[in-house]
Symmetry: C2
Subunit: 450 residues, 2 copies
């Protein structure tokens, strides 16, 4: 019997745990689920005969070492910055590891040691990063196999609310970590490549430089640039592509409205605001506006952002309750923390709401001088509150890859991205069986860039 | 004979060195001027019988210790972050110290040790910080002495080009460290107090929230907010003032035009641009704009910044040569470094140009319910290329304070700001003798804030 030690039983782990338990008898596995909350781990294991739920604190070095030592593979759903202690011990103790997180510098430093011990530390095998790598590499390799030369690459992904649960003027709700949504785009200028020209966008313009995207059967979206468009240039074999652009999807109008908060300075996470506990929503917004003895906060916002009084952006802002006299009620909070708490009052999912994941690639290639575009898209709707589209799309690829390693079907060693054909072909075909598949359309063009 | 060891013979040290040499015989001093450039130190000492010029490297610990040990007082004109080693050794070896720099955390940590050794480490005794403290405290204390209660405090300072040398559409030239001008406003949100409300301005809005200021006989100015408006709240005794605002002065229109660079992202110092060496000015600006197969960089800038084609901001930008095909010629440079090099081609002072320092305070007080405003301003024009207004206004207060310490006229010990009456009264009166004085005007108002 093989032992799997899974760390973290939160929202994104539901489908992952279900998959591993569903195949536990057939594959002769035992799954131990550790979470700081025993109750949460127990609820997810649900008394399965091949499952054990335990209270687990990653900072308890003895417990951590014991549990890793007993496992054949470790699946870490910890926050990205907490993986390293686990990864280091996996290498020491000779265990494989899978995660859905970006490869950090520390993680990468284990590459040689993992190879020499015959271990696979497979990362970025969730949704984004994860399915984006699998599907992009599949598409790129297929085109290359036909003799196409890739000149243009765009890739977007977004976690949204499903159309049937979309009942607010932002066409948006928090379907995963709200803090990441509030801080999106911060931490340095965006960099991408457009027709061989390096382009840079400062944070306060990221949400004003969007691209309109339509996906048949699912309507219109808009994409804003991710900071890291060029980081996979080499891994994807795109060093001679002319355009590389990666981004995040929202429904049209979201970014322009979100930019109101950026312009105000309300997404800043670098300082504590004075008196945040006693502050109302209205006071919060007013802190970013010029003092006036007579003008309303509403008019000052409209003027500051150069908006007409009847601009629908004003409707969006009013709907969020940012002008209300409700208390913020957070002590020693940053603007970003206060904004998040205001947004959570309105953008939280109801028990019956469903989420939606949208992924979209646009690849331009040339064969014999003919320029052709392939658009490839995947849309996944959540089943319910527990089995969200996010949980499915993050959990399934991670579960499938974990199984492949246990079954000896992934033989590459070291700290890996899932960009090799033997990985993406197997994972994508099993995802398709589980209803997660891509739709392609292809058409010829005169120019990739206009 | 007392020994003064002065470190740094750069542009701002000219007047300082002249003053100390001029009084050297009468006061029985010897002045040693150390600079990394021996030639520069020699030129400034100019063979004076009471002066010695030496090549001095602050990183040479032995030389540093030797020279400090021989001195009675050290005057450090080093960049702010390089003071600490000198300050620490001054305390160890029992020497006084004066600087024109902001008190750093490290500097502050020497306070108790300096007191116990009977030493004065007087900082922020240049122009800004320096004369701003002296003149503000003099004004505030005078009003308090008459029974006035201070409710409103504004203080601005700017290094500008003198009217007779002002020959460009920006009404601006670099009269001190250009890098500080390019990076102005960065590093965190602006915070100030306006009618008891804390107000915050994000970086990309700092240059759009200016205040119009007129000074009789000198025309109009505008002020943008400094990041640190509240840092002297306690030192100035302003804990119960309703409005506190500190800022930087420019000629009207500068800030709106400068904001074009902020909006583009051209002042970012956090990343290296690809291919900066081969880049033209035009390429540089185009890197921040959307790709277009047909549109000109000029039109893209106008559109991005929502400018009419005949907006005088476009004239300002064109005058700077930012659309030219001239090479940047800097290797591995950040946007801020490239922008600085482009600006230096146009904004450098000619040999015959004169600079101008403008300082302005606006203080509102109440006596028996009557609200009164006092405006106090100082305008200093440079004599020539060497004896600039900047050198005079930075160097004279530092020189005078150094003399006062040597003569035993400053008895306060520890790490000090020049806010005590015995310091500001003496320094201000000697500044006035040297032509650096303030003009006041007073008028009654209904409200301080409108």
């Amino acid at each position: 019997m093989k032992h799997i030690f899974l760390i973290g039983a939160g929202r994104s782990a539901t489908t992952l745990i279900q998959y591993l338990l569903r195949h536990a008898i057939e594959c002769d596995w035992h799954l131990t689920v550790g979470d700081i909350s025993l109750a949460l781990a127990q609820r997810k294991v649900a008394g399965h005969e091949r499952g054990t739920a335990i209270a687990f604190d990653v900072n308890d070095a003895d417990q951590r070492r014991d549990l890793i030592a007993k496992a054949d593979i470790v699946v870490s759903m910890l926050p990205a910055h907490m993986h390293f202690d686990v990864a280091r011990e996996c290498v020491e103790l000779g265990k494989h590891l899978t995660t859905a997180s970006y490869i950090s510098k520390e993680m990468r430093s284990l590459h040689e040691a993992a190879i020499s011990k015959g271990l696979t530390l497979l990362n970025e095998i969730g949704l984004d990063p994860g399915i984006d790598h699998l599907s992009a590499m599949h598409l790129l390799d297929s085109i290359r196999a036909k003799g196409g030369h890739i000149e243009h690459f765009e890739s977007f992904c977004g976690g949204l609310v499903a159309p049937e649960s979309d009942d607010n003027p932002w066409n948006y709700k928090f379907t995963w970590n709200p803090r990441n949504v509030v801080l999106a785009g911060q931490g340095g200028a965006v960099k991408f490549l457009h027709n061989d020209r390096f382009k840079y966008i400062p944070y306060h313009k990221v949400f004003r430089r969007t691209e309109a995207i339509a996906i048949e059967g699912h309507g219109k979206f808009e994409g804003y640039a991710n900071r890291d468009s060029l980081s996979y240039r080499e891994a994807y074999g795109l060093l001679d592509a002319h355009t590389i652009y990666r981004g995040t999807l929202r429904r049209p109008g979201f970014s322009r409205a979100w930019n109101a908060f950026v312009e105000l300075g309300a997404t800043d996470d670098s300082y504590i605001m004075e008196g945040s506990e006693q502050m109302t929503h209205r006071d919060f917004i007013n802190s970013f506006l010029p003092y006036s003895i007579r003008d309303s906060v509403e008019l000052k916002v409209a003027h500051y952002l150069k908006l007409d009084q009847d601009d629908d952006l004003m409707t969006k802002l009013e709907w969020l309750g940012i002008f209300s006299n409700e208390k913020v009620g957070l002590k020693n909070a940053t603007p970003a923390q206060i904004l998040q708490s205001i947004l959570e009052k309105k953008w939280s999912m109801h028990a019956t709401d469903k989420d939606m994941i949208v992924m979209w690639h646009k690849v331009g290639h040339v064969i014999n001088g003919q320029k052709t575009v392939t658009e490839s898209s995947m849309v996944v709707i959540g089943d319910d509150e527990e089995n969200t589209a996010m949980a499915k799309t993050v959990g399934l690829p991670l579960a499938i890859a974990t199984r492949m390693i246990l079954e000896g079907r992934i033989t590459q060693r070291g700290v890996l991205l899932p960009v090799a054909a033997d990985i993406y072909l197997s994972v994508l075909s099993e995802l398709a069986i589980n209803g997660l598949s891509f739709t392609e359309k292809t058409y010829d063009v005169e120019e990739f860039n206009t």
